[in-house]
Symmetry: C2
Subunit: 340 residues, 2 copies
DNA sequence: CATCGTTGATACAACGTTGTAAAGACGGCC
DNA sequence: GGCCGTCTTTACAACGTTGTATCAACGATG
């Protein structure tokens, strides 16, 4: 069994509370006793029981990170950065997976609470705004990506509309005229924003927007991207460029294009979103929107820190983090095509 | 403040313990009272305070997962599976990143303990065997991948030697004669095992083993794979196949091969290890060793469960989980080569 | 000398939960 | 009617920690 304050106290010949005082740096402890206690602490290798301390103090030392799936590279990379940022504030990170279902997202939020974590960083996918206002978890929340329309909740994300507009603008700049979009989604807020940016860019360029060029995707996985691309290629007039709402969709699209004997970008240019590490190594490498993930992680953790510190009363923040367009072979065409 | 058992008890007009009994599914509660309590539970939206429950039960409700980097697809995928398996045992998962340094791995282990987590699943990279015996964390540990030579610690992994031998055997089967290996590492145990399997397969086939065909890699990232491949291609007699010790190295190698105008697999075949999701979509798709990651996660969590439950101090387990050779385009050559 | 403030140490209660034991209610049996 | 066993509920203590109140010793002050 673990060493408790009592064990240390017995060994040092003082009361439990005096040991507690030493551990917590209380000033008024006689030098002699302090020395004895410190010796006993070292000898026993005492570690405070976090559960008990939390119970008494109402603090936990944990924050939760709620994401759809860690196996999605974007979230894996983000999780690593959140863990690093949290560690700097002496927080450990508890990770929950929702697999993108609304029920699981709601369950996760409901199961969180002041007794478990000090705050939570949530990357919702299917969550509705009222799910958040309904069940107040009683701890500071920071939303990533999605913006909860009405709920007064902190929010960190890049400007999805502008980012999408930038990506599609780049396709226009390299001369594409039939530009498709993959990733439309009925409930995902970011999907709507990226679609809006896509449309804005087409409008800017005075291009038509045939409905057939916008393909939905329910899951943003490679498989869906491949299927969507196949659908586009069955059109009477296929597109000459595709804007995918994330890099996984783009990876699938890339694969399908190759299977159909299309040259990328000569026949069809492809742009992604997220800048997964793998996208710099695909064949061809993928032009993509690169959000500053470290900035997202740092900002989110810092918001929780400030809320917990108790200035609680500042208004809900809506923070935009920087992004960049990473131009690679899938649009500029110097790709080292795989020889036959 | 959160709802407690007391609040529910007051509302239902019964004792705290009766509410506790209902919550925990104790059989002997009068139907009438059970109904009243359940109503009160629903009305108040009661959630048990995990800290208090665990304090009482002598468990923390957490297990730790210690991995090098979540942004490495293998660990991202594994983490998701561990979280799922842990959830089935009412455990939340605390994730620590070590970034593969021995110091960080040691620190992580030292900071763990019975006060924080009930057990830990550790995927060591640079850790030496005595680091484990030195600092007994006082909780059940399960090692993944690496085998701690002397320490009596549970261990879950595939048979790395056999897997490597199978992979390289496949290269032999398709007629390759100069087979290189990328990923040699001075301290990583799995590297040694995979190298042993590689050598065994070459010996089986009666092939020579020139030293120049074994290339080290300190980090198993795409970049290292690309560099190693470039090195191989500078040889007077380059290899006609490469066995990479993980899929990331293979992804880098694939990229470099294409950049140098080599056809995969016609000019050079490539095999990876881990079966990252992305490897099914690369161009060409990657032949690789596919460990049963779900089996690894389930087995590891179950071992911890048994140890924690365990009056039964059973001897340290050394469990081998299944794997399969996933044959794809990078060796069998029906790749949809990207047209120029 | 009485009083006061400072320093140092401790006992006790409390956080929310559950295990233990004991007490109460009920029916069936002799 | 008395006794026993089964069902049902409750009071109490305990998990390890810390905040509050209390107490004791001491020197300084009036």
């Amino acid at each position: 069994m673990a060493v408790t304050l009592k064990d240390v106290a017995t060994l040092a010949g003082v009361s439990v509370k005096t040991v507690s005082n030493v551990v917590n740096g209380y000033a008024f402890v006689k030098a002699e006793n302090r020395r004895r206690v410190e010796e006993a602490l070292a000898a026993t290798g005492y570690r405070p029981n976090m559960g008990a301390r939390n119970l008494r103090r109402g603090r936990t030392g944990f924050i939760a990170l709620v994401v759809p799936e860690l196996s999605i590279p974007y979230f894996g990379e983000l999780a690593g950065l959140v863990i690093a940022a949290a560690q700097r504030q002496d927080w450990s990170v508890l990770i929950e997976e929702t697999r993108g279902t609304r029920d699981r997202e709601r369950d996760s939020l409901a199961s969180l609470g002041p007794h478990l974590v000090d705050g939570a960083i949530v990357s919702p996918e299917a969550l509705a705004a009222d799910d958040l206002t309904q069940h107040d978890p009683g701890i500071p929340l920071v939303l990533l990506g999605e913006h909860a329309m009405n709920a007064p909740i902190d929010h960190v994300a890049i400007d999805n509309v502008l980012a999408a507009r930038t990506a599609v603008g780049h396709l226009v700049d390299i001369g594409r005229r039939r530009i498709a979009a993959i990733g439309q989604h009925p409930r995902r807020g970011t999907a709507a924003q990226r679609l809006a940016g896509y449309r804005a860019a087409l409008t800017d360029a005075g291009l038509q927007q045939p409905a057939e060029l916008v393909v939905p995707a329910l899951n943003y996985h490679r498989k869906e991207g491949a299927a969507a691309m196949a659908q586009l290629m069955r059109l009477r007039r296929p597109p000459d460029a595709v804007f995918c709402f994330n890099d996984l969709l783009a990876a699938g699209a890339l694969r399908t294009a190759a299977e159909h004997g299309l040259r990328v970008p000569a026949d069809i240019a492809i742009v992604g979103f997220d800048n997964n590490e793998e996208s710099a190594y695909s064949l061809p490498s993928l032009t993509t929107i690169a959000p500053d993930k470290a900035a997202i992680a740092d900002t989110a953790v810092d918001l929780i820190r400030r809320r917990v510190a108790g200035d609680a009363a500042f208004p809900p923040q809506d923070i935009q983090t920087p992004f960049a367009l990473e131009i690679r072979e899938s649009t500029i065409g110097s790709a080292p095509a795989i020889p036959r």
